[in-house]
Amino acid sequence: MVDPMIPTPFKVTRVRRELADTFTLDLVPAEGRRPFAFQPGQFNMLYQFGIGEVPISISGDAADGGVLVHTIRAVGGVSNALTGLAAGDMVGVRGPFGSAWPMKEAEGADVVIVTGGIGLAPLRPAIYHVLANRKKYGRFIILYGARTPADILFRKELEGWRSRIDTYVDVTVDAAGTEWQGNVGVVPKLIPRADFDPANATVLVCGPEVMMRFTIQALNQRGVGDDRIWVSMERNMKCAVGFCGHCQFGPKFVCKDGPVFRFDTIRDIFQVREI
């Protein structure tokens, strides 16, 4: 068995600039293509040799095991260093780690995705999964919030999903000039307008924690129970396998019990400010 503490070398096959500070890396194992199995919602530790490691969710399609896709926003030391990668470079990968979005449990229910900013990346595999298995799910709703129109991630794909008759997509931005024709306002405002059955919906939420807090309030007001809401917690990590305690979140470890949690199981510790 591969030691989870030792990074496997992967080769960058493509770098796509998504936004001014966000890019997507396509990776394949350095020793030839081997399938890489993961579930939507899981993450890898990406190691920029000599600099450090960061947890990054997998943003590609779990059904396409050939290429491993990560979408990264440069915010600090390691993620900034990763922006320097080009096709042909090597990066270390440990994973996949963590819990997954409840795609099996959600079958038969409406699926509602509420996400903001880079939070769309960890949810993209869940979106691919629902679209590839569309008949297994009820109504499918994607609500997305970005900072400004220029910060809308995966814009072309969002437009493609919006154009499908079996998917409802609503996008909002926090700030815009008068040339923007779409919604302006925070993402929880989109919740009362979406047509889904609160008693039979599975809601997947990912974004900054404050955004998730207000989203959950709006979902509760709409009548969605905490046992139907799943959140992905992005707290800092080191080992990613439950050894170091760096990611401890109350009695849980985000790296192995999460990052995806059913909200009722962490409700009491959700407001904990630091870990």
Partner: protein, 165 residues
């Protein structure tokens, strides 16, 4: 022109009046009329007298702020089922923002003088109306605060901004 006939039914169809007794709605309908705004037409502009309040039946409006030396900013957009315009309740009854129709927009407008007159005479009607206004206002204040946090900004920028006094 104020159309009294038929407006009671139209008010009943707007979610803002959900659960209001029909006699109260009928009273208010005396102040109501239908209006239509074309895409890019301004419903009102900052500084003008706030003589109405509006319920959106169809379409989208943008609440905008214009300041010299700055690009105009859209603060929020409102859609079918939403309401807008509080300034009719607060002296000096002057609009504090611009509101522009983003697309063809149909609204019900309620005349402010007519409304204030009715509410002055019938306080329980006033209470019924304000019970509907206050939660919307609270929700808008909450949303505006969340917007101010710049949730999706770069962590470093947000930190330095919060340190500035």
């Amino acid at each position: 022109m104020v159309q009294i006939e038929g407006m009671g039914k139209e008010l009943a169809e707007h979610p803002f009046f959900d659960g209001m007794e029909s006699k109260d709605r009928e009273l208010l309908s005396g102040c109501a009329k239908n209006e239509v705004f074309d895409a890019d037409e301004y419903v009102f502009r900052e500084g003008e007298p706030a003589d109405k309040f509006y319920l959106i039946r169809h379409g989208t409006v943008a609440v905008e702020l214009h300041a010299p030396g700055h690009d105009p900013m859209v603060l929020e957009t409102l859609r079918k089922g939403d309401i807008f315009g509080w300034s009719w309740m607060v002296q000096p009854y002057t609009w504090t923002f611009d509101v522009r129709a983003v697309e063809l927009t149909r609204v019900i407008s309620l005349d402010a003088k007519c409304l204030r007159g009715k509410l002055e005479k019938d306080h329980s009607l006033g209470y019924e109306l304000f019970k509907r206004f206050i939660p919307v206002m609270a929700e808008r204040v909450g949303a505006a605060r969340l917007q101010l946090l710049d949730l999706y900004g770069q962590p470093a920028e947000r930190r330095s901004r919060s340190k500035k006094k």
